[in-house]
Symmetry: C2
Subunit: 167 residues, 2 copies
DNA sequence: ATGAGTGCAAAGTGTTTGCAACTAT
DNA sequence: ATAGTTGCAAACACTTTGCACTCAT
């Protein structure tokens, strides 16, 4: 039931009107999905859409909420399964923030969108840090300890600018 | 059978005899506990002991196991509560490693033992990185973004030396 | 048409909480 | 003595799984 038969095909033409350039990340994600021989289903579209609609870092639970709001028929478990698939294919990246919930975001397809994650222990927000901020440190660490840091998968802990100022 | 009728009390006077010179970290932890007006109880000693006995980074669940092995009467919930207290007092540090389980370790009391955490995505091991490795990056990040990185609370993701060599 | 993908509900993890009993101070 | 701690068991949040059905291909 519920209708909304076409996820975002021809039907929602006016909802789409100012989306001529639908996130390249979203397009890329769908293409990558197909390229891997995976089926493109409505739940999967919904998950990718939720991820593409924001530049935020969403927790799995938050994604569940967003998807359920848009497509009530989509079940929690399916969202989790979809996220697993997307992560496995490298379409989505997830980082574990201190606090229990892991956050997900689309990997930037055009490249250049890459960034590091910084988690504020006061407000919980995950903010972005220039991707090259740790380059020097990474080089030094590998040199000294042999550990090959993958900065983009790392989450830096600390206090964000906003919270730092309030104190 | 088994008994052990008195969970903890006067009974273990001799069980205590060879515990005069424990880890300075352990002593420091207990002292800090007292200094904060917290009571020093057997469960708390057991948790601190488990942490002090190893330089490893222990998951909460692993600590539960260790403590339960040494003091069967101590309940899981108490271990979690104790860890919370210790973290809150800054006696113990915990980092969330990607993969769900957070790892705990005593903060080095004499100072100088401080280190950063690096989590290998291949073997799962948490290794230590020199504490100052991110100093320059931290300064630059704060300068550029305002984010005040707390390097010691951060977990770097990547591949450890051993795993890197195998590939 | 046919199997990958889904919804459902139930079972897992890992962690927290309300309460009466107990013990460190 | 007495308030802080504990044990217990149940609740909790988050995630995964078995199964029959459906839909993308």
């Amino acid at each position: 039931m519920a209708s909304v038969p076409s996820p975002y095909g021809a039907a929602d033409s006016h909802a789409d009107r100012h989306r001529e350039a639908p996130d390249s990340a979203q397009v890329g994600a769908l293409a990558a999905l197909r390229a891997h021989g995976e089926r493109v289903t409505e739940p999967r579209r919904a998950v990718i859409e939720a991820l593409a609609r924001t530049h935020e870092h969403l927790s799995a639970d938050r994604i569940v909420t967003l998807v359920e709001a848009a497509r009530p028929a989509v079940h929690r478990a399916t969202v989790y399964r979809t996220l697993d698939v997307l992560v496995e294919l490298g379409i989505v990246s997830h980082v574990h923030a201190p606090g229990g919930a892991s956050v997900y975001h689309l990997v930037a397809f055009p490249a250049g969108q890459a960034h590091l994650h910084a988690h504020c222990r006061l407000c919980g927000a995950v903010s972005d840090i220039p991707v090259d901020a740790l380059d020097a440190a990474a080089a030094r660490i590998e040199d000294e300890t042999g550990f090959r840091m993958e900065a983009q998968q790392s989450t830096l802990a600390g206090v964000c600018a906003a919270c730092a100022e309030k104190r």
